[in-house]
């Protein structure tokens, strides 16, 4: 089916969030084995064309995104300025991204400050999600990053986060402490 490439392109274009191969397969009513080559062809075509936007792999799916070099120009389009994240918000996000599932107490121990307000803001912005309750006394809530977090930073999945070891390379002292790797949390739901 020659038009599969066209159909896949239209689906990705019209969707308001990244589409995974699974989702495309269901929508196009074609096996993944046929969807995959179509997507790969599109990826190549857009990479080669050097247009104003390209096909990006993000949050476990595919989405058209503008090229980053044009950022200063494109900002002129948006009426409101994009929300800038505070240091507190980014620190909290960083801790949760790497340590998920993380409890509020763990986050506050690491940051040394109350983080309830920051976490609420991040939850409201749909960058965090509640993963359930931890099996320890008091059963505290556990938090993780959401799919929208991946979309925000253009990450394919949590493995796309820079490993903290890469940071360690810059600073030998850190290598001594336990290496932390982003734990891959499967998130079928958000």
């Amino acid at each position: 089916m020659n038009n599969l490439r066209q159909l896949v392109e239209a689906f990705i274009f019209a969707s308001d969030s990244p589409l995974s191969l699974e989702r495309l397969s269901v929508l196009a009513e074609q096996p993944k084995s046929l969807i995959k080559p179509a997507v790969e062809q599109l990826l190549q075509d857009y990479a080669a064309s050097e247009g104003g936007f390209y096909l990006a792999e993000v949050a476990g799916g595919y989405q058209f995104r503008t090229v980053v070099e044009l950022a200063p120009w494109l900002r002129k389009l948006s009426k409101e300025r994009a929300t800038r994240f505070s240091r507190a918000a980014l620190e909290t996000l960083a801790i949760i991204a790497y340590r998920q599932p993380a409890t509020r107490a763990e986050i506050e121990y690491l940051r040394g400050v109350d983080s309830g307000g920051v976490m609420k803001t991040l939850l409201d912005k749909n960058l965090l999600r509640i993963l359930g309750k931890k099996d320890v006394p008091g059963r505290p809530l556990m938090y993780g990053t959401s799919r929208h977090f991946l979309e925000l930073f253009g990450l394919r999945d949590l493995n796309d986060l820079p490993t903290l070891k890469e940071f360690a390379a810059l600073d030998p002292e850190i290598t001594a402490a336990d290496p932390l790797n982003p734990e891959v949390v499967s998130n079928p739901h958000d």
Binding site: I130, G132, L152, G154, F167
Partner: protein, 254 residues
């Protein structure tokens, strides 16, 4: 050396501490604790108009530093079998770990961000999504669910709420409350279980909860003489307390 430091520029006590360690060219894993404590305290003294919450967090760190300093000053006796842990060890670990996340936070700041550096198509799907606007839709998640309920309750006047919804004071919840109090206080008088603010219904449910706890052999009741104070105490170790909530379903109360 006069230090010009504005606390607002630091996201917390660890951040400030890291700054001091760097500016004094110290090795994180070998902090000169006397020097750093002095520096830290000088800065804390300078902050006068900080709100209490933030100040508390910075003061807590000050206390930790002073404690470590005092431990470091204690003479190390030779005849201990085990090598004593460096009093700074935990702080060093926290600092190293915090340093990592601080670096990641900086990296996040530099990554291209959606709607700041990168944009997605704003295709209007209205052509074929008849009467189904994505605008009105919200992502689903536990938070969104709890938030929806929370918002509804906030909009609801509490008085009228009671007229329709059945009384939902839960014995189980009050059992938890009592157990929580007892975990903190080892032993409480019967009187202390009740708060003056309690409504009639709350008093009743609290009393029922107390009886339940006695029946479950979780709480022990003692009275030394006639009409003397009645004392309540936990009969099980506090760390097993969390399992009590499981009993909830077994209670006959609705």
């Amino acid at each position: 050396m006069a230090i010009q430091v504005r606390l607002e520029n630091f996201s917390g006590p660890l951040d400030l501490l890291l700054h001091l360690i760097k500016s004094h060219e110290m090795d994180i894993s070998d902090i000169r604790i006397v020097e750093i404590t002095e520096q830290y305290l000088t800065i804390i003294e300078q902050m006068q108009q900080l709100d209490l919450d933030t100040a508390g967090e910075f003061l807590l760190m000050a206390a930790t530093l002073i404690y470590i300093k005092s431990r470091m000053l204690l003479p190390v006796s030779d005849d201990i079998e085990e090598e004593e842990e460096d009093p700074r060890a935990e702080l060093v670990k926290r600092l190293l770990e915090y340093q990592r996340y601080k670096d990641v936070a900086e990296l996040f700041q530099q990554l291209p961000q959606l709607e700041r550096d990168i944009f997605i198509g704003q295709f209007q799907a209205s052509d074929f999504f008849a009467g189904d606007s994505a605008e009105n839709e919200v992502p689903i998640g536990i938070y969104q669910l709890a938030d929806a309920f929370h918002q509804l309750l906030k909009e609801q006047p509490v008085e009228t709420f009671h007229e329709v919804i059945r009384e939902s004071l839960s014995v189980a919840v009050y059992i938890d409350n009592i157990v929580e109090k007892l975990t903190q206080n080892k032993r409480l008088s019967f009187r202390e279980i009740f708060t003056a603010k309690f409504s009639r219904n709350e008093l009743i449910v609290t009393f029922l909860a107390t009886l339940e706890l006695v029946k479950m052999h979780v709480v022990n009741i003692e009275q030394v003489g006639d009409f003397s104070e009645i004392w309540l105490a936990l009969t099980i170790p506090p760390d097993q307390v969390s399992r009590i909530s499981l009993v909830e379903d077994l209670l006959g109360y609705e």
